[in-house]
Symmetry: C2
Subunit: 480 residues, 2 copies
Amino acid sequence: MTYISVIDLLASDAIHQEFTVKGWVRSFRANQFMALNDGSTIKNIQCVVDFENMDEALLKRITTGAAVIVTGVLEESQGAGQRVEIKVKTVHIEGDADPEDVKRTILSPKRHTLEKLREQAHLRVRTNTFGAIMRLRSKLSFAVHQYFNEHGFYQAHTPIITGSDAEGAGEMFRVSALDLENPPKKEDGSIDYSQDFFGKETNLTVSGQLEAETYALGLGKVYTFGPTFRAENSNTSRHLAEFWMIEPEVAFNDLADNMDLAEDFIKYVIRYVLEHCQDDLEFLENRLVDEDKKKPQAERATMLLREKLEFVIANNFKRVSYTEAIAILRDSKPNKKKKFKYLIDEWGADLQSEHERYLVEKHFECPVILFDYPANIKAFYMRLNEDGKTVRAMDILFPGIGEIVGGSQREERLDVLKEKMAALDIPEEELWWYLDTRKFGTCVHSGFGLGFERLVLFATGMTNIRDVIPYPRFPGHAEF
Amino acid sequence: MTYISVIDLLASDAIHQEFTVKGWVRSFRANQFMALNDGSTIKNIQCVVDFENMDEALLKRITTGAAVIVTGVLEESQGAGQRVEIKVKTVHIEGDADPEDVKRTILSPKRHTLEKLREQAHLRVRTNTFGAIMRLRSKLSFAVHQYFNEHGFYQAHTPIITGSDAEGAGEMFRVSALDLENPPKKEDGSIDYSQDFFGKETNLTVSGQLEAETYALGLGKVYTFGPTFRAENSNTSRHLAEFWMIEPEVAFNDLADNMDLAEDFIKYVIRYVLEHCQDDLEFLENRLVDEDKKKPQAERATMLLREKLEFVIANNFKRVSYTEAIAILRDSKPNKKKKFKYLIDEWGADLQSEHERYLVEKHFECPVILFDYPANIKAFYMRLNEDGKTVRAMDILFPGIGEIVGGSQREERLDVLKEKMAALDIPEEELWWYLDTRKFGTCVHSGFGLGFERLVLFATGMTNIRDVIPYPRFPGHAEF
């Protein structure tokens, strides 16, 4: 490659040297100042065109959105706003962008709503906001892998298509290769899935946890990082039908170790983006400040984006048992004044989003780890406590996001696990392999699931989960 | 955590110090020598039990497969085969493994076939072979991310569920949330997918390329690394219905740049595992040597596993045009002697696996990059050459593996792209967003897809792709 990226060029000290740079025109002022961006950074390189000595037809084709190849000399910039600029020798138009066509798209240089940007998700990554979000998302994703690699974890690529629907984490999508218009039938008239691709009914996974457990009991420390699916008709700003989940699972970790791991992990990846995404974070922070100006004082953020991230790193997550949380909520103002939609009056109640937000945003004002939940509101595989009524579950709640992590110590005792499955009518034949792990060298082990997009939401300060994944899938939407 | 992993313990110099180590018993000889493994490495730590001073009931529970927590003092080992060992103070049995039950599983200490191991895929990761494979797979996966991160790429998480089936890379799985036993119907009796979750028919992706292209034209250099799917009834040792694919896509890269990238990338990740997986590679290499002893001389490998990997790093991949390859094949011995199943007699023939293997394994004896294929045997999005009959496609062929990479420079010209789509009856409405990228600042760009499991096959020396992914999906099999 004989050209240089904008990010490297902006950091270069090679004044008076010639460079070639390739990218897209963000703006072209006064027939002279071309702001060129190549996606490597949010910043543009200013390319100064000697318009008096350039072909006029060529000049006209330097328009917002056009792809160009610029060759010129790096010079110290006289103008404000940049240290260096390119004094252009030649411009080659690689691909035009007809201004009339551009006007009809979000590439046109004016303010577009996030809704509008979503409709043109194939172009939005060329905007400053979405370039910043997607670079940050990528760095955060890399930080996830690096954390686990440094800490002795192995990644387990657990299956996406699953023949088991026993986990019960939510509605599942069916996967089939049958001709659904005319499927083979059994004698009783029902579909004969034995003739389907896998010889049985299959679904898209809702979690790789059970398979990850089998791997943790061989490799010790493992994690998954892959897509998971929910066929739930949740038209909210926090839910996607397809999202990426991170699920570490560690042999010999108990619930306290699990909390330590989750907290250390989250702090590490946030520290990583603070260090590696300064320009994008600065842009996103300023964007939020602008957004806040339109809001009434009471609704404005109390911390700047980077302050918020620094705060998470600097402070211990508050660890609170479910039982303590219920006491706090029962005595809280919104409960006494009947402001909660679901009033808390006794132990055993499932916590709603309004309660989680109260605890995190009003009461503790920091990330909170809730643990030891009532057994009957949690999944079958969670370790039953000695009290016989709570399980070693934990949820991590984040300000503005709500639940970001859900995890538990797993029930390692074969007899207790079988009892819990029986009580929930989960057939042992379905999970024979899972039960096997409790027969052969079972041990204390724990893990959690972290919804990656919620982490990106938090780190970017965005508020709609559809804006932190390239092509969001939600009810009625599988475009692109 | 107050204990140490086996990998750290084996590297420790803290002789006479006390440690706690947690893992599974691999063997227990002479009531004295316990080989303990925790998955962190293929190597075991020898734990020497003072059986004369230990409770007999406890001793009996130290059996292959049991989970134990051992506390003891690190000492220099007197025995052959290890530098250090643990002189045991206490053993806690965390989870038993009944020898009678173990006997019925692949955990029993004898030789099991790979087929048998596949049937117990939930336990096979506890064997030396699969522990080695899966650790190596994980390190290779990390190397992929590290390569792209170091080289200025951003990861784009392209969608798994897709509403588009225009790419035509193969049979797709249908995804639906409808009640398939009783789906809503339209007036003409066909299924009314407008009532399905996404309001239309959806499938599992066969490639993230088209979406990755939209991102490359904003962020410059991107890659995907996610699961892809084929509903093809391929019951071979090289095909899976669900597999992980790596797809880099780079703006302003032409086909030569694309070849450079692929070669550099492959060499980097192989170098990474050579450096980071020495113990596992040594084990896998010895395993292959043992396997080879059962084979006739002519079928044995000419290089040891690590020699083969070093060879790939040290040598340039041979770049050969399709036209040259056809000439070589036409004049080859197996063609003249009619040993090929599909004889090559003229330009335009699609290359079969037998031809690829001949080129790579007999003629060139090194990795080969074939390029400039006939347009009519390649996909619509590949850049048409000036000759009007070939496209800027490239395939990388590896010895023993066959095609490991398929890529191309993409057709960046809107008019040519539209013509090719029309000729193949691909409706423009389906890919309006893809065409948009050619309207707004289109540019030369290129990318490729690399099947991750084929890379793992190559790096481990395994021969069946079902043995390099935790829970393989293929016709009739979606267990676990």
